[in-house]
Symmetry: C3
Subunit: 382 residues, 3 copies
């Protein structure tokens, strides 16, 4: 082979199909909606709703020694009843792109990688952890507010370029990421410019630095995090700070996020949480919001046969009256996970209670108000 | 490995890609449409239309000994001319989800399986047979009416949970299925609640029981049926009864289907048919409809080289004037199939004649009236 | 096995996943748009836009000795800012079908193949070359005008049937293709008949004949062309003539394309170009347009380590005032490609300058006028 062609990696790894599914049965109660034009909020009948809460397939590969890629398609919320108490959109049977990025290793070690494509900016831990891996029934609601504030999209993905790396020395690890992205939701006229920064433009910058004491979370660098339960194999704590900044656009003069997150795994205990401050200025007026969650799970091995994890989570959001999402939104999750094959095969039963006021993901005071639900979940990752 | 982790099945089987294509060239004549606003039905010029009548790809796998899954994406009707005489929607190049389900075997034998996800409720045989496997050019029109009546969708799929199993003893086999599903098309206000049961909710229940005398259809349980031609290898008859029930929703107080189907394979003969009664009550008023088909094929092996099957089918629908689909709709199909590699590679030429009146899949009396067509088909299943 | 079943080819080749990605970072300047209703063209702020200019995945296989298929899904322009100077649509995260066809070899040699499905009609070389393989940053704009004129779609694909083949004898090769297709964009009333030929119908016929002197382009027949750079391995010239014809429809009485293209590879030089005349008649009035490009690249191997290709392209369009696209549209591309693993791994930096007037892809005089941009590209084909 000529010297100017780089050597491909093992052919077998070029294109590997991937698939995963998170099926839910959710029994909702107390959901309210506006059924008559200009009418009051009325109760929807309690109901069972089956759904593919999340289902994904795609491809990944490592065509060259220093080049890998991920492409993931989602068909989330298929079958979900709009009047169930589960948050999120409904789906009539369509597919969408979740991830599509290429990562290149710059250095011989794990200290510098460049990732380009359509990806999750590296912000809070909940935002960058795989959607069906968390130990609560669903991901914390706080991540949706962070993503919306950062780049205007519930899925949080944006096109851009991220530089990151990781270094472990003894009981101490450091991981950093910094990226520049498009925010395609800042046009004043979103009808005629639906996928655009608008007449004015500023880049979106996103950063995250994580310090670990004890066992590292990962031995190799990647921009996706797998789980917050290490099945009693990790004793360590990771504390991270994250932020995002964007300057002037059609709809704000600047927009910021600042926050931190913590993950502690010690013997049977899995404890994590995060808090973020969401700030925005327009025409000299600043609006502020805060959001976060705390979550605890405890691994129980019953009769050497069942790996169970009782788990509890509180999520919270509060925002100024002048902001995009106002008032309060709180969600409680209590339940048990049964892991049959670590994170790859899981059955869960959780109860979700929700409360709040204002205009946010819980209610807009006029057209909807979420109820509570009992949810059973099956997760299979292929 | 720890005792509490279940053992994965052969790695190779985790994610297997699948693909199939049914290409048609259809020469239509006699198609009519309303070309001018409030104008009469006028003849569209006779025309050739090429189309991917059905094209699917996806993944299937068996990650654990008792767990398997199927995920199928469809891109049906790509290239289809809206004014060809072929029924069904047109497609501008988009994809949709067809199937996405996980099946778990509960017992050590084939007697109990639970399937969850987005799947075809187990109702009439024509509804649960793979779309490109039947020996008529297209599936019977009756299945569309059954699916529409059952869960309001032409594709028939719904999110839910099905329990089923099969047992063979000597010359006798029994297969049963019973499921509970969401019907996401019963909101009074479908504009604001497009994917919802509406203010009121009732579960959709669907059942099917099949008895076989002689050779069984399948040795292992699954919710998809492959073909009604067994290529002279099966001598047996299967008779099934099926039904669906749903109680009060925004748009009806109850909705039912009752029906039966028969498949006879004896030497060279392939004979099948089904009949279903579709009933619905709203505010004390009942509406009734009936639909079904009968179809016969005869396998001919010519010069030990060509496996041909001349085939004939009649489908019929008749509905009350007060129902969703009214009047009569009849379709005749006569043609020949040439099987090059059993069901996996097939070339067919059929002539389709259609007639009817009222408001249904054949005509609405105002905007369209289907013509006849000569169709040539190529089927390749990978 | 019975004699009437044809023998499957190697099982391994049934379904092979494929994937490719073309990531761009484009810094735009001088882009203009109409921001206020009925307002003038105003400058959009200069901006960086990251995008998956093209990203594709799919499956291909060869289930039988004489039967192969290709299925490709695209998620192009993901992340693209509508106000960047890069042409083409934006994408909110959806997928679409690009190719879905089956090819059967009729003869024992390469002289006759039938391809059916959804495919690119075999017209100009730029139209039938893989989208991310050309040596300019993007494909020539001329191909978009040719595709639009031929079948009304920017992607150019249509459902139909193509017959083609190739024959090499010594230093001389001949390749031919002729196809019949649906044109689904000729209805007078595109709102009510969005995917239809309309009330009237004519088939679309497309032909191409190519003569090669010297080294052939391909040893085996296929309808997709890979690249115009053979990395110093080919000394040959290919000259092709192409045409398309369509008779009366709702929107024209006839429509034609006539053109030619040339590809010369000689030692380090890669030179190609094409020119096409686009004609249409309606109610006795004829409209005419012309479009084409010329492009030159020169392969440089630096220090036996870097395979570089400086490249320059001019594209041009001019059309009658009465036509679909009027006035002039010209684009200049100058840049350098760095090939790391032939066409499969490429990094490029190009500058694109655009100018024109009228109503076309460059401007409509009222709502948009394209600027210039500096683009960096990463191409990885798996």
């Amino acid at each position: 082979q000529e010297n100017y062609w780089i050597k491909p990696d093992s052919l077998f790894k070029f294109v590997q199909p991937t698939a995963s599914v998170q099926f839910w049965g959710a029994y909702s109660s107390g959901e309210k909606a506006q059924f008559a034009a200009n009418g009051p909020l009325e109760a929807a009948q309690d109901r069972m709703s089956f759904m593919l809460r999340r289902a994904r397939f795609g491809f990944k590969g490592k065509p060259y020694k220093r080049v890998s890629y991920v492409l993931t398609v989602q068909l989330d919320n298929l079958g979900k009843d709009k009047l169930s108490s589960v948050r999120g959109a409904t789906n009539t049977g369509t597919l969408g792109i979740l991830d599509a990025f290429v990562t290149t290793r710059v250095t011989n070690n794990e200290m510098a990688f460049i990732t380009v494509g359509y990806l999750q900016p590296q912000i809070s831990r909940e935002c960058i952890t795989g959607d069906i891996n968390v130990n609560s029934l669903d991901k914390s609601v706080s991540q949706t507010y962070i993503r919306q504030h950062m780049d205007g999209k519930n899925y949080g993905r944006a096109a851009g370029l991220n530089v990151g790396g990781t270094k472990t020395k003894g009981n101490f690890s450091l991981t950093y990421n910094a990226g520049i992205f498009n925010n395609m939701t800042t046009a004043a006229d979103t009808k005629n410019f639906p996928e655009s920064s608008g007449k004015n433009w500023s880049p979106l910058m996103v950063e995250r630095i994580a310090l670990t004491f004890g066992d590292p979370e990962k031995k190799t660098y990647s921009i996706n995090y797998e789980t917050n339960n290490f099945f009693n194999k990790r004793n360590g704590i990771t504390i991270a700070g994250f932020s995002s900044q964007q300057g002037g656009t059609d709809i704000f003069s600047n927009s910021h996020i600042n926050g931190f997150d913590v993950l502690l795994n010690f013997k049977n205990l899995n404890l994590d949480g995060e808090w973020a401050w969401l700030d925005r200025t327009k025409e000299g007026t600043s609006t502020h919001a805060q959001t976060g969650h705390i979550r605890a799970g405890y691994n129980l091995i019953v009769a050497d046969k069942y790996f169970l994890e009782p788990c509890f989570m509180i999520t919270d959001y509060s925002g100024d009256a002048a902001g995009q999402f106002t008032g309060r939104d709180r969600l409680y999750d209590a339940g048990v996970n049964w892991y049959l094959n670590q994170r790859n095969f899981k059955i869960s039963v959780h109860y979700i209670a929700q409360e709040g006021a204002g205009v946010n993901g819980y209610t807009d005071g006029v057209t909807f108000k979420k109820g509570n639900f009992l949810g059973a979940a099956l997760v299979v990752i292929m």
